[in-house]
């Protein structure tokens, strides 16, 4: 394993984007950063700039206005990039399946590495998903 990959796994930086979820998963992503769960102790940092990020956390079913934004964020992230769909509605559309303005799942727009089902997901599940996603990074050669 190259030193670059090794350090990437030790300190992945997250970018969180809300694509139209109900806020439930979004606050659980934030809750994972705060004292009880505290993912910062694993070197995971939540940042707001796509060009700094390794992992993209997306919540919510995509709608017509933000699909362009999501695509844009994804394209700005440097390689290797990982995408995690947080929550049932980010995976498949979930309860919003018959809402007219949703597309149903972020995998219609960008490729997804890890899906977390649950409505709303628990912070433990988010941490777990990030760890699984990092396993994929090990195989990355670049």
């Amino acid at each position: 394993m190259s030193i670059l990959t090794k350090s990437r796994i030790k300190s992945p930086w997250l970018l969180h984007y809300d694509c139209g979820g109900c806020n439930g998963c979004d606050i659980e992503v934030l809750a994972a950063l705060t004292p009880i769960y505290d993912i910062e102790r694993f070197g995971i940092v939540n940042i707001g700039n796509p060009k700094h990020a390794d992992v993209l956390l997306v919540t919510g079913p995509v709608n017509h206005r933000n699909k362009r934004v999501l695509r844009n964020l994804y394209e700005q992230m440097p390689e290797p990039k990982l995408v995690i769909a947080v929550g049932t509605c980010a995976c498949t559309g979930g309860i919003f399946y018959n809402c007219p303005n949703t597309l149903g799942g972020i995998d219609k727009i960008i490729p997804v590495d890890v899906y977390i089902p649950g409505c709303a997901v628990r912070p433990e599940a988010i941490i777990d998903a990030v760890v699984i996603a990092l396993g994929k990074l090990k195989e990355y050669k670049g």
Partner: protein, 125 residues
Amino acid sequence: MSLEKEVVVDKAELIPEVQNLLAQKARYCSSTCLDLGDKFEIIHHFQLEDSVDFTKHIKVRINKEDTLPSISNIYLAATLCENEMQDHFDIKIIGLAIDFKKRFLRAKESPEFMLTKEKKEEVSP
């Protein structure tokens, strides 16, 4: 069951009625638009000062081709609700304080007028 304290007014009486409420220091709550098939029904909900209950629901019925005078120049708060109505229904509102031109919530590709009821087709036996 219909709403308590509802007042049905004509299109022309709407603005004077709302101005009257403004003079009484009523608080604007919300607006609802309904599709009755051949007509639109718009309900403006108001609440008087020093009262916790709803005080007045003003109902206006207009034909589908007709225009609706906006109350947003009297109550600025109504502008968002009226813009939302324009997004959801094929309704023409004139005199909006801030007009988003049917792009308030909708994006370009979003379905148009999603809450408008489709005309019931008569099923031939």
